[in-house]
């Protein structure tokens, strides 16, 4: 069976993601750190679906993350939900908040849209802060359990060990990664890119662009909600900062520094920033200043982000015997 170039790129990218996921706990000092990277990689990937593929710069990502954290933690604490139902609640909470914020914010476009996502993000923070009897307010939500993997009440696997929990998160990450690539290469994904490139044209061709944008929001919110729920499980705790604007900014910065429009870039961005934070936060608490500098530098000089930079470097070092043009022609001929 012959494989088309698209599917081989497909496999290469996924293979790289699998390799990274397998290598991380070996190279990194602790599986907990590796887990944190994957959780934020999920969030960055979700933000990438909006920014990189649909062209929507959303400051609401922290809201979906926080909603996923709080809701999954609350149903585990108060109603003793198991692992998968709790994760599902986190996903639904992220999707629902994303639906509400997305549907309201896309009533305006351009900068007004971005401003609305930021203002709604502030609003969500005040909601969490005001409802302190539910969310724990400034103190956060304490004593979040980490239930075992169980099916129909039969306990299959305890996630208490950091390495086992890493494995669990890694499987979920890879599943989402593959699913996200499927979505991007589907007609739905192509429509999102068409909206990013020229919304008027996409709408003139007959697409209901609003509906597509809301769907992109819901998808992004669901993945971010999952990331938030996993983060609550990792920390056994939901800090108020999960829903702060700073979390939205962090997720966005990871996406952009890693490289917009490339899912591996999101993994790279989350990895480098979580690592940088881990190394620097003890030495120099003001390290986020570097993030500000890096963000400016990437926007001014390295639009493709770290991943784009790596690809450029690779292309410069290894001159492939076949230039890229014949490849695309072959693909067109095959189709």
């Amino acid at each position: 069976m012959s494989t088309t170039p698209t599917s081989s790129i497909w496999r290469g990218t996924t293979l790289l993601a699998v390799a990274a996921v397998v290598l991380m706990p070996v190279i990194l000092p602790s599986p907990t750190l590796a887990t944190e990277i994957l959780i934020f990689a999920l969030a960055a990937l979700a933000s990438n679906l909006l920014l990189g593929y649909t062209g929507l710069l959303s400051f609401g990502q922290g809201v979906f993350f926080g909603a996923g954290s709080y809701c999954s933690a609350l149903v585990m604490i108060h109603w003793h939900f198991g692992l998968f139902p709790a994760l599902l609640v986190g996903i639904l909470a992220g999707a629902l908040t994303a639906f509400v914020i997305g549907a309201l914010a896309i009533r305006r476009t351009g900068i007004y849209f971005v401003m609305l996502t930021l203002s709604f993000s502030q609003m969500a923070y005040f909601v969490a802060y005001t409802m302190s009897s539910v969310t724990g307010g400034d103190n956060g939500l304490l004593n979040v359990p980490r239930p075992p993997v169980s099916v129909l009440g039969f306990e299959l696997l305890s996630l208490a060990s950091p390495l086992v929990f890493y494995g669990f998160v890694a499987l979920l990450f890879l599943a989402v990664f593959v699913a996200a690539r499927r979505v991007i290469h589907s007609p739905f994904g192509s429509t999102l890119v068409a909206i990013r490139e020229n919304e008027n044209r996409a709408s003139a061709v007959g697409y209901d662009t609003r509906q597509f944008k809301v769907l992109a929001f819901v998808l992004s919110g669901a993945i971010t909600g999952l990331a938030g729920a996993l983060y609550a499980l990792l920390l056994n705790f939901v800090p108020l900062s999960n829903i702060e604007l700073a979390t939205s900014e962090h997720i966005l910065i990871m996406t952009i520094i890693g490289g917009t429009g490339s899912l591996l870039g999101s993994l790279l961005g989350a990895g480098s920033i979580v690592l940088l934070g881990d190394v620097l936060s003890a030495l120099w608490p003001r390290w986020p200043m570097l993030l500000g500098l890096a963000l400016i530098a990437v926007v001014m000089f390295l639009r493709g982000g770290l991943w784009g930079g790596l690809l450029d470097l690779k292309n410069r070092l290894i001159r492939s015997p076949e230039p890229p043009q014949p490849d695309t022609r072959q693909k067109d001929a095959a189709q």
Partner: protein, 286 residues
């Protein structure tokens, strides 16, 4: 009972005038330069902190009311020369990200200089009394704040509507190229306008310091509120900033009497309502 509401209405006017000063700066910059400044809240914060420093060093609030906004405007002018002017031609998304980076740098630098814990600024001497009218009493400083902000607003209106500089700014926001072809150094005009707009956030920061103090995360809060004002009133409109600012200030302040914890929440609720009923703002046309 009536006095309680009068008290809150005055509080709302004061807050509203602060919001107006912040938003009108944001709006002027967007109007002429077509530039989105997400570091606006951070510059406001810097105004509050500079006020704190001047007041601690000299004990003179009046000096800080003069020096701090100038300092903020000067810093804005320098960043414009170094960075911002290279970003005017970029899409808004990139401008947002660049200024987001700036906001992060300013916030972290503020924490380095002034520490992570908030600072409070004493009510200026001479205005620490209470203004009385019959049975009604109101803090003098808050009255001064309303009047001062109104004077700044009038001066700004005069500057924009009645001077050559204002005419150039307005003409430039219509058609930059023509203004430049007619022999105006458009880049100088851009720098001055950016410094002016950011300086207004600095003034607002100083005025609010004796009431709210200075806290590292005030910048984000203020930015969120300025966006609410601008979404309601429309970007690039002086009147929109004034009406939007006052509306948000009054809603926030009147809600404090009914539901203190939810006052901040109601601002955003009001914004959501406007978006649902009039997606293009109170004055906007689609």
């Amino acid at each position: 009972m009536l006095n309680v509401y009068l008290f809150q209405v005055l509080n709302g006017l004061g807050l509203g005038m602060i919001y107006f000063l912040i938003s009108v700066g944001l709006t002027i910059i967007f109007g002429l330069l077509n530039f989105v400044n997400f570091a606006h809240g951070a510059f406001f914060l810097l105004g509050s902190y500079l006020c704190y420093t001047v007041v601690t060093l000299t004990g003179n609030f009046w000096l800080s009311l003069f020096v701090a906004p100038l300092g903020v405007a000067l810093l804005a002018w320098i960043t414009e020369q170094v960075l911002i002017k290279r970003a005017y031609h970029l899409p808004h998304t990139f401008q947002i990200l660049i200024t987001l980076g700036m906001a992060l740098i300013i916030r972290e630098a503020s924490i380095m200089i002034w520490g992570p814990i908030g600072k409070s600024v004493p009510t200026p001497a001479g205005l620490d009394g209470v203004f009385r009218l019959g049975s009604f009493a109101y803090p003098e400083y808050r009255l001064f704040m309303i009047v001062f902000a109104a004077v700044i607003g009038l001066l700004l209106w005069f500057l924009l509507e009645r001077t050559r500089f204002g005419a150039l700014v307005r003409a430039g926001s219509e058609d930059t190229e023509t203004v430049s072809l007619l022999g105006t150094n458009i880049f100088k005009l851009f720098s001055l306008t950016f410094a002016l707009g950011v300086g207004l956030a600095g003034v607002a920061g100083v005025l609010s310091a004796p009431i709210r103090g200075a806290h590292p995360f005030l910048g984000e809060e203020v930015l969120g509120i300025a966006f609410v004002v601008v979404v309601i009133g429309g970007m690039g409109s002086f009147t929109g900033a004034l009406v939007g600012g006052l509306l948000v200030g009054l809603v926030q302040s009147l809600m404090t009497t009914i539901w203190p914890q939810g006052a901040s929440l109601m601002i955003y609720g009001a914004m959501a309502a406007v978006i649902m009923l009039r997606p293009y703002g109170l004055f906007g046309r689609s």
